[in-house]
Symmetry: C2
Subunit: 96 residues, 2 copies
């Protein structure tokens, strides 16, 4: 009746990050930070976790002289996000 919610995704910031990445080809750290309003520290940590879970990939490079961190959702991440949405529907719909 109440399926287990993926703890990696059941986090406000990580869910927002995944939500952004699910809709675009890729996005860099600063863009995600602006969109979510998160602090750098928090975002850094949460991106690490998504990466460790294999839900996103992180690529570090430079845009001119400035460091740039680009994130991209993986197939597994896309799937996990989709599963999470499905699971959540059951919680939300139960109360009609």
């Amino acid at each position: 009746m109440f399926p287990k919610l993926d703890p990696i995704l059941h986090s406000e910031l990580r869910l927002a990050v995944m939500s952004i990445l699910a809709g675009v080809e890729d996005a860099d750290f600063s863009f995600i930070k602006k969109q979510t309003g998160a602090t750098s520290g928090n975002l850094s940590v949460q991106i690490d976790k998504l990466c460790a879970a294999g839900y996103i990939t992180v690529e570090k490079g430079f845009k001119g002289k400035m460091p740039r961190t680009t994130c991209r959702i993986t197939e597994a991440g896309q799937q996990a996000f989709s599963n999470y949405v499905q699971a959540l529907q059951e919680y939300l719909s139960a109360g009609k």
Copy 2:
């Protein structure tokens, strides 16, 4: 873009409890425990929090000789649950 999610509701167990209560007149501790699969301790704590937030009311009485704890959603709880569902839609739909 990403509205703040009510931290009281953004918890797997509390959300499940609210989901159950949103659909029925009232429900007792044991029923909720069975439906959610939660441990007594965890459920006890989370019910307290929902109660402290004013989202549910808890009525203690006896069914025969056995103690019985009955929970019921409040108007504020109904509203908060509804708001949470709305907010969440934004996260989920962003990734289309």
